[in-house]
């Protein structure tokens, strides 16, 4: 970094990004509340995507770096074999069978 540019410190990063990330967290909480409020909540909570999201939220709380990559891995297909056919398939955002 060449002056007059100064690399920010962690407190400045907190100051710059706190409000927008507070809002993002409230969006997630509101999304989970919405599922609870609607008919069929139990079924939705049993969906592999919901379970993967809950697992990812636990990873958010882990200390240290690497949370983002860990969450990406938690949503990913860990297998290595090609599938027989892609006909009619789409991506869901979480791997079915990825969470117990």
């Amino acid at each position: 970094m060449t002056p007059p540019y100064q690399k920010m410190n962690a407190s400045e990063i907190l100051e710059l990004y706190f409000i927008e990330n507070r809002a993002r967290l409230l969006d997630i909480a509101s999304f989970l509340d919405r599922i609870d409020r609607y008919e069929g909540a139990e079924e939705a909570r049993d969906d592999f995507r919901y379970r993967a999201l809950r697992q990812a939220l636990e990873l958010v709380q882990k200390p240290g770096p690497g949370r983002t990559a860990a969450i990406q891995l938690c949503f990913s297909d860990p297998t290595s074999e090609p599938i027989a056919s892609a006909l009619g398939l789409k991506a869901f955002g979480a791997f079915e069978g990825g969470t117990p």
Partner: protein, 267 residues
Amino acid sequence: MKAIDPHIHMSSRTTDDYLKLAISGIHTVIEPAFWAGFDRSSAASFRDYFHLISVTEPARAARFGVKHYCWIGLNSKEAEDLKLSEEVLALLPEFLDRPTALGIGEVGLNKNSRNEIRVLEQHLDLAVKRNELLLIHTPHLEDKLKGTRIIMDMILAKPALDPGRVLIDHAEEHTIREIKENGFWFGLTLYPNSKGSPERAIDAVELYGTERLCINSSADWSVSDPLSILKCANEMRRRGYPETDINRVFYENPKTFLSQCPKFQAA
């Protein structure tokens, strides 16, 4: 500032977007051949599409002082039909010869199926035969890690393909390290809802450095933003990075990678 968007689907955008690009400093764009939002019914439909991105779009862009280049290939989402794939692959050399075509792309995998792999293999063989640059599409979401690894294994199994002439696109936090360690270029895509944000892209710059990195909007017919690379540049600026670093990421890097094709001239 001056910037290059190395991956943007202008044929899906309005003419007004060309004006926005021009007045904002994005004077060079590259459009990869991709899935048009529906499955095409014949090779003739692909022929028309390749003409659109190699002739019509450069002319539309030129009216606004924007240079438009393209990548030619069969996207992986339409590669499941092997008969159609054979017919489309047979068209590619004619369009790769066009003066605005920089190489083969975006080709890769979508759901990591056997047919997708077979068609990608044929694209790689064509790249070897013609010494073409490659733009690789990696799968979305849960399929990305597995697909990226399969693709890298396939390319590395062909010694005639130089990883320095291959850009593996739509990389994310769980794939960047392996892509870089294997010597490839990597692309980060900024998509408002489903891919990376400017904040995460600049986090990746901080973690992995500016070397062999290109950042793109991939703006198309879906929720996307043709000016997102400038918003990402501004994210780098507000963290205190000097303009020389910002210029490297958003102009010099794509220029360096793309200049490996002698047809490319950045505006």
